[in-house]
């Protein structure tokens, strides 16, 4: 299904001792003269943690920033929904944490499919993030004496997670948003909310701007810049049902892919073990119950198949605490991929609970007995309330029912050590890139990555790029802008013109269930091959039979959704191809053919690389470029949480 290239990708990773690489690289990077900075225009697409932190930091340096997002306000980017927390190697609890240990846990958690140098830098920068956010007035949880509090998260044996109740993402994002708004007032950031990036403008191989559609008026516009930063989040909604916000999409990244940026490891998707199960066919999204709950909640199913009893009628000895049983060292705190697969295995074997039997219990009775209801309420009150609102069950009294759901995407546009894609001038930050989490992301590490990228990496690396180009070299007068805009307008007209009989939502749901069944928690070559045909059939169905109401010259959510679905229908094929190419099980990618004693079987001999795909045309096989991964510090070992 693909052709393989022999050219190697230049990841621009520095040499030298691991712990000095970033500092050394910073010394080498070119600087832009302070007086010249205001002459450079930088476009930032996305206002989540990555985009907002980049916008404020670059504007503070004096650059002109234009910031785009889909929502009516930049503060509503999907990062706002993150609940559990953000990691840092502060070692405030004095429990043996260090930069090295955070680095080690992240490389191992990612099942040895991440770039070591990037991960080290991430761990190294983590502490600065907490300092920065605290200084902005982010109300992190504190101990009585006033010092910062920590909790533990999956995949780690230390407490290194900082949090603000169950609203950590909200508070971090509001911190970054506030800093950005300060720069808006100062005139250095210009906001463009409700403007969707429809395409990337590339001139002579270099990213020079974007084409947007105004979501209120339907008007297309183009913007030129000296650098474009893509901070557009993940593609989990290719599965239709996920914990992602409804507007999350792959469009911006996909458009860049089609203009020459390589897409890396799209099959590395994360299924989160603790989500509220589906309740009916109308289900529009799934709700996460934060991983932090696994600190005090115990996961179990009845020992007896199809046990009809209510949970309180099942005595302790007739319960199977299957995570504690299988993984005594980490127990309920094993990484997400491990916990998800274990839950699926129990349900598939007939031990599931609830009306659909596709759920397991997450039980707080022991914690309430040990700590008291008040303490449990203080830790998780808002999550318990949310659970009760959705399910009408009281988790203080009956165990929660949970099941895995699509949550995060480790794959994304390929970037080098500078976060630059294969299109010079196009940088990719946050969940939209592929860089730091390998085949599985540890809890509380996405917020850390988004903010490391935006606050502490991009200000240096984008400067290096700008220092070697003169400002404003290309304007929107260049014919490439008109041509790119014509493409974007043409595509929307084509969608409107189909005028068939199926709603956008119904096709998206069908794509989602295809992907969930065959490219979800467990994948096989046979299933993947069949799925590629089915995706193509569905794509064809879309272009023949989709029905979009209204017109393109107005506020039209139906058209927005259709445009994003059209891209998902192309992207889904690449994701599936990538899963088929990777004949091993690692992290979130589990191929049923590659396992031993129920545990995933990685193949370091043949697959210790990042798969970066190059576009060759829709319906054409993409070209595979391999970035070999080497492990100098953390030695390749079988990941074990036993």
């Amino acid at each position: 299904m693909s052709t393989v290239s022999t050219t190697t990708l230049n990841s621009r990773v520095p040499s030298g001792p691991m712990d000095q690489r970033w500092e050394n690289r910073k010394q080498e990077l070119k600087l832009v003269n302070p007086a010249n900075k205001r002459k450079y225009n930088i476009i930032i697409v996305g206002t989540g943690l990555a985009g907002a932190s980049a916008a404020s930091s670059l504007a503070e340096l004096g650059y002109n920033v234009k910031s785009f997002c889909l929502q009516d306000s930049p503060r509503r980017a999907h990062s706002i929904a993150a609940q559990g927390g953000i990691n840092a190697a502060k070692n405030y609890p004095n429990d043996g944490d260090s930069v090295w240990r955070l680095f080690y846990d992240t490389v191992k958690g990612g099942d040895f499919r991440a770039r070591e140098s990037n991960v080290y830098r991430l761990a190294y920068l983590s502490n600065l993030i907490i300092d920065q956010c605290a200084a902005q007035g982010v109300p992190f949880a504190r101990e009585y004496g006033g010092t910062l509090a920590n909790r533990s998260f999956g995949g780690a044996q230390v407490s290194r997670t900082f949090y603000a109740r169950g609203q950590t993402g909200q508070q971090l994002l509001l911190g970054a948003y506030s800093s950005m708004m300060r720069q808006v007032e100062a005139g250095r950031v210009k906001l463009f909310p409700r403007k969707e990036m429809m395409d990337l403008v590339v001139v002579d191989g270099v990213a020079r701007g974007i084409v947007t559609r105004d979501l209120v008026t339907g008007k297309y516009e183009s913007f030129a810049a000296d650098a474009v930063l893509l901070c557009t989040g993940g593609y989990g909604n290719v599965y239709y049902l996920s914990t992602n916000a409804k507007n999350c999409n792959v469009t911006a990244a996909w458009r860049c892919y089609k203009r020459g940026a390589y897409f890396a490891n799209p099959c590395f998707t994360q299924i989160h073990p603790t989500c509220i199960p589906t309740s009916g066919h109308y289900q529009s999204k799934l709700t996460l119950m934060s991983e932090s709950l696994r600190n005090d909640g115990r996961v179990w199913v009845p020992k007896q198949q199809n046990d009809p009893r209510s949970p309180d009628q099942i005595p302790h000895e007739e319960r199977d605490y299957f995570l504690e049983r299988r993984y005594p060292a980490f127990g309920n705190l094993v990484p997400r991929d491990v916990a998800s697969r274990a839950a699926k295995e129990r349900c598939d074997a007939g031990f599931g609970v609830g009306t659909t039997k596709m759920a397991v219990y997450l039980d707080f009775q022991d914690a309430i007995g040990r700590l008291g209801e008040e303490t449990v309420r203080a830790r998780y009150g808002n999550l318990f309330d949310m659970y009760q609102k959705i399910t009408d069950d009281n988790p203080y009294k009956v165990p929660m029912r949970i099941y895995p759901a699509v949550h995060y995407t480790m794959g994304g546009l390929w970037v080098d050590y500078h976060l630059q894609s294969t299109v010079p001038g196009l940088f990719v930050l946050g969940e939209a890139n592929f860089s730091d989490h390998g085949a599985n992301r540890l809890g509380a590490s996405a917020l850390m990555q988004g903010l490391a990228d935006g606050y502490f990496i991009i200000p240096y690396t984008v400067g290096d790029h700008l220092a070697s180009t003169s400002p404003g070299k290309i304007t929107t007068e260049h014919p490439a802008f008109a041509a790119t805009m014509a493409d974007a307008v043409g595509r929307a007209e084509q969608i409107m013109a189909v005028n068939g009989s199926r709603s956008v939502d119904s096709i998206h749901r069908e794509l989602g269930s295809l992907m969930w069944e065959n490219v979800g928690m467990s994948r096989t070559a046979e299933g993947l091959t069949a799925t590629i045909d089915q995706i193509r059939r569905l794509r064809h169905e879309f272009w023949k039979n989709v029905k979009v109401m209204g017109s393109g010259e107005e506020f039209n959510q139906n058209l927005e959704h259709a445009g994003r679905l059209a891209d998902f229908l192309e992207f889904a094929e690449l994701l599936t191809n990538d899963a088929l190419n990777r004949n091993e099980s690692c992290g979130g990618h589990f191929r049923a053919e590659y396992q031993a004693e129920n545990e995933a079987l990685r193949d370091d001999e043949n697959y210790c690389y990042a798969a970066a795909w190059e576009f060759n045309g829709v319906d054409q096989a993409p070209q595979l470029h391999k970035e070999p991964l080497t492990f100098e510090e953390v030695h390749l070992t079988t990941r074990s949480y036993k």
């Binding site: 930091s57 929502q71 009516d72 929904a81 605290a134 300060r182 107005e554 506020f555």
Partner: protein, 254 residues
């Protein structure tokens, strides 16, 4: 099978900001009580599309009660009948078979209607840019534990910081005042030591911008607190007033 409802919906339809709006009535049957309110609207929209009619525009994103994007007035109440609940977290089990549900956008001159149930709340962003921050550049921060914040203060600051910026407070207020929203940010940063240096300037600037944006004045009817999905307390308004008067006394005019 769970119970289901047959409903009559009266929905505000308005093609664009400049168009004349009106209520339209729709019948909907077989709505599961486990659906969220927005899922019920999704079902309505699928029906409309299948009938060749334009779906109802409504804002939403996270559907978890945290992004503040959703929000409609349901039978006269912003976000509907449940307390401390956004529209997206409201579930149909709150309604009875045969109910008529009237659904309108936020009504406030500072929040012009964009289409149907969607309004423009950018006035909130403009208030934030006037002073809703701590002026600290990236890279200048001391160690996070260098400044201690007593647990009690942190809790109070967090209570205020929980505001999701949905605008229900404005929609609930007969004067369309934005005091609850503004007071939440002013309080968070007035309580925390990090916000203290700019405290006086911040409150003056944010209140001035709020007035420029034509929000009404606060007459202490507390409808805002009752409508707030994030449980922001009106004690924040009292704190804002104190902060404001103190700032007026000590500061130079801005």
């Amino acid at each position: 099978m769970s119970e289901s409802l047959d409903l009559t919906l009266k929905v505000w339809r308005q093609a664009s900001h400049d168009a004349q709006g009106a209520f339209r009535t729709y019948q909907l049957s077989g709505i599961s009580i486990d659906m969220s309110f927005l899922e019920m609207l999704d079902v309505l929209n699928e029906h409309l599309i299948n009938r060749g009619e334009e779906p109802v525009a409504f804002d939403h994103d996270c559907r978890e009660g945290i992004c503040g994007t959703c929000g409609v007035v349901i039978n006269g109440q912003p976000h509907g009948p449940d307390t401390k609940t956004t529209t997206c977290q409201l579930h149909m089990r709150r309604f009875k078979n045969g109910d008529t549900i009237v659904i309108e956008p936020w009504r406030a001159s500072s929040f012009p209607v964009v289409k149907d149930l969607v309004v423009d709340r950018s006035a909130f962003d403009r208030i934030m840019q006037a002073g809703g921050y701590v002026s600290v550049n990236t890279g200048n921060a001391p160690d996070a534990n260098a400044v201690l914040v007593p647990g009690r203060d942190q809790e109070k600051a967090m209570d205020a910081a929980a505001c999701i910026g949905c605008g229900a407070c404005v929609a609930a207020c007969k004067n369309a005042s934005a005091m609850l929203f503004v007071s939440a940010k002013v309080s968070q940063l007035a309580i925390l030591p990090q916000g203290k240096p700019e405290r006086a300037e911040r409150v003056l600037k944010m209140v001035a911008r709020m007035d420029e944006e034509n929000f009404g004045s606060c007459t202490n009817t507390y409808e805002c607190e009752a409508a707030c999905p994030a449980a922001i307390s009106v004690t924040n308004i009292a704190r804002l007033n104190r902060e404001y008067f103190k700032a007026m006394l000590v500061s130079d005019p801005v």
